[in-house]
């Protein structure tokens, strides 16, 4: 009677079971065609690799459950547990319950969902959506009342300032953002804010007024976009435009700006022009690299030589200039210029272990307003005077 009931239950619930010992030999099987003493793993591959967890089952007292195994086009759940017989010997039982036809239908529905999701994942629509998500992650949004007090913030704000949402509410917008520059419109501004690491970050902000159904403005939404990288690029470009890449000195463009400013503001000032002699020959004899090294070497010498408040510039290839601070007296400048003339002869370039490059340069001291009236005038007259000096020195 008991056996019949078990048979009935197993059939009704689509259950098969295998009882096996610690050597994985089959002791008894129900609804599975297995010989006694055969290795259960020859039939039930699923337990290969699980030997150790199975043998320690009695310690953990939790059966091993592996759901939804697909075998021969059917799904079944596997559960493995241990028990003791009346002689307290350990045995193990593997139950396999075949899933109903609805499980297969459910699996097919999941497959359809996954298929559609995969198509969407690879579509342009998904790429666009990710693109906008990426933008939104960096767009800080504040909701302000009409007096500028914060009534709402988005996740990007919380992340950027590393504060709880409550720390923003009812605070004035200016607690977090300092205005840098008002643009042409009242709704567009540049703000500076400190992030969670206390670093300065520039934001371009747009203010969007939100009206109620009667058309009355009830709040403002401020959308802030991090433009620090743009500021940095702009700064780098400005620097590159005004400096020489090889020596790092201010260039001809800066010279023109500086002289224009000085001629407008000062009654007098002086400029010393320095032109390396035979620079082309040095380049040809030792190569362009040696030429570059010579320019860098002279830059170092002049930077060390000049006063910190005087400005050293590289005007072009082999021409440098020192714009003396207007407060300097002429006698002092003339003495400095005299010392300048001997600087090169005392400091040749040690290009490598074999080559020591001796070099000279020609200097020319000019004064405003006697020698030139403006920046272009300075450059034009300096060039002519320099040529004359070089002819006299028999360099040209």
């Amino acid at each position: 009677m008991r056996t019949n009931l078990l048979d009935l239950l197993c059939k009704k619930s689509a259950i098969s079971y295998i009882i096996f010992d610690s050597a994985f030999h089959v002791i008894e099987a129900k609804n599975v065609d297995l010989e006694k003493e055969s290795d259960i793993r020859d039939f039930l591959w699923e337990i290969i690799g699980l030997e150790e967890p199975i043998l320690t089952l009695k310690k953990h007292n939790t059966p091993i459950e592996i759901p939804m195994i697909l075998r021969e086009n059917c799904y079944y759940d596997l559960e493995i547990d241990s028990f003791k017989d009346k002689h307290t010997k350990n045995y193990y039982i593997a139950y396999m319950q075949k899933k109903s036809k609805y499980t297969k239908e459910y699996a097919n529905v999941l497959r359809e969902i996954n298929k559609k999701t995969l198509i969407y994942d690879l579509s342009d629509e998904k790429k666009d959506s990710q693109y906008f998500k990426e933008i939104n992650k960096h767009l800080i949004t504040f909701h302000l009342d009409l007096d500028g007090f914060i009534i709402g913030v988005n996740d990007a704000s919380i992340h950027f300032f590393n504060l709880e949402k409550g720390a923003f509410l009812n605070q004035h917008f200016s607690e977090f953002f300092q205005v840098q520059k008002s643009q042409n419109t009242e709704t567009s501004n540049i703000f500076l804010a400190k992030n969670a690491n206390k670093e300065d970050v520039f934001f371009h902000t747009e203010t969007i007024p939100v009206a109620n159904t009667e058309g009355k403005i009830k709040e403002n939404i401020i959308i802030a976009q991090d433009i620090t990288h743009l500021k940095k690029i702009k700064k780098e470009l400005e620097y590159a435009q005004e400096h020489d890449a090889l020596t790092g000195l201010a260039n001809r463009r800066t010279f023109l700006k500086k002289i224009d400013t000085l001629t407008e503001r000062e009654n007098s000032f002086s400029v010393s022009f320095i032109d390396i002699d035979h620079f082309t020959i040095i380049n040809e004899e030792y190569g362009a690299h040696a030429g570059d090294m010579l320019l860098k070497h002279l830059t170092d010498l002049l930077l060390e030589f000049k006063d910190p408040d005087d400005l050293l510039l590289r005007l072009n290839g082999d021409s440098f200039a020192i714009v003396f601070d207007p407060s300097k007296k002429r006698e002092y400048i003339e003495r400095v210029n005299k010392n300048l003339e001997t600087l090169a002869s005392k400091n040749p370039l040690h290009y490598n272990s074999e080559d020591v490059i001796q070099f000279t340069y020609t200097t020319l001291l000019m004064h405003f307003p006697q020698d030139a009236e403006n920046a272009q005038d300075f450059l034009k007259k300096a060039q002519k005077a320099m040529e004359r000096k070089k002819i006299d020195k028999k360099i040209l």
Partner: protein
């Protein structure tokens, strides 16, 4: 002859089933039929029988069932070269595997290499260095068969060395 278990893990739709089918049956189908639950294949490599567990891929709504990983001697984490998020999730998958089987060797399959993709050599190196358990990172194609055998053989070699 000995037997051991390996598991292929990764996001859904990365080609785990296709890689197994290519390795075990040397076949490929363009039709996408996602695995629900788990199906187990058997393949003999030299003197070892490898039980290859093809488990349901990770989706946003359905995590991977931990029990499937129990008793594995090694893992193949599969990502799709056309879906960056599947590559970004490789470290999470490795961590998940190691929560169940500590320090088990892992091979990474960056699948669908037959399609134009944007993964640089630099990114590939970064993936390689992301865990000491990674024994190989390969760009595979279940469609063309590129590097598929190499992938399974490399993991088998590592596991056999560890067992012996």
């Amino acid at each position: 002859m000995f037997s051991y278990k390996i598991v292929l893990i990764g996001n859904f739709g990365t080609g785990k089933t296709s890689l197994i089918r290519r390795f075990v049956e040397n076949s490929f189908s363009e039709e996408y039929l996602s695995t629900i639950g788990v199906s187990i294949s058997k393949k003999t490599i030299k003197n070892a029988t490898v039980m290859i567990w093809d488990i349901e891929g990770h989706t946003e709504f359905k995590p991977i069932f931990k029990q499937y990983l129990l008793g594995a001697k090694g893992f193949i984490v599969v990502a799709d070269l056309l879906r960056p998020e599947s590559i970004e999730q490789i470290p999470q998958h490795i961590e998940f595997c190691h929560n169940v089987v500590q320090d088990a060797p892992v091979c990474i399959a960056l699948n669908k290499s037959d399609m134009p993709h944007e993964l640089t050599e630099d990114s590939l190196q970064k993936i390689k260095q992301s865990s000491p358990a990674i024994v190989e990172v390969l760009k595979t194609s279940a469609k063309s068969g590129d590097a598929v055998e190499e992938l399974f053989l490399k993991l088998n070699e590592t596991i056999c060395e560890q067992i012996s």
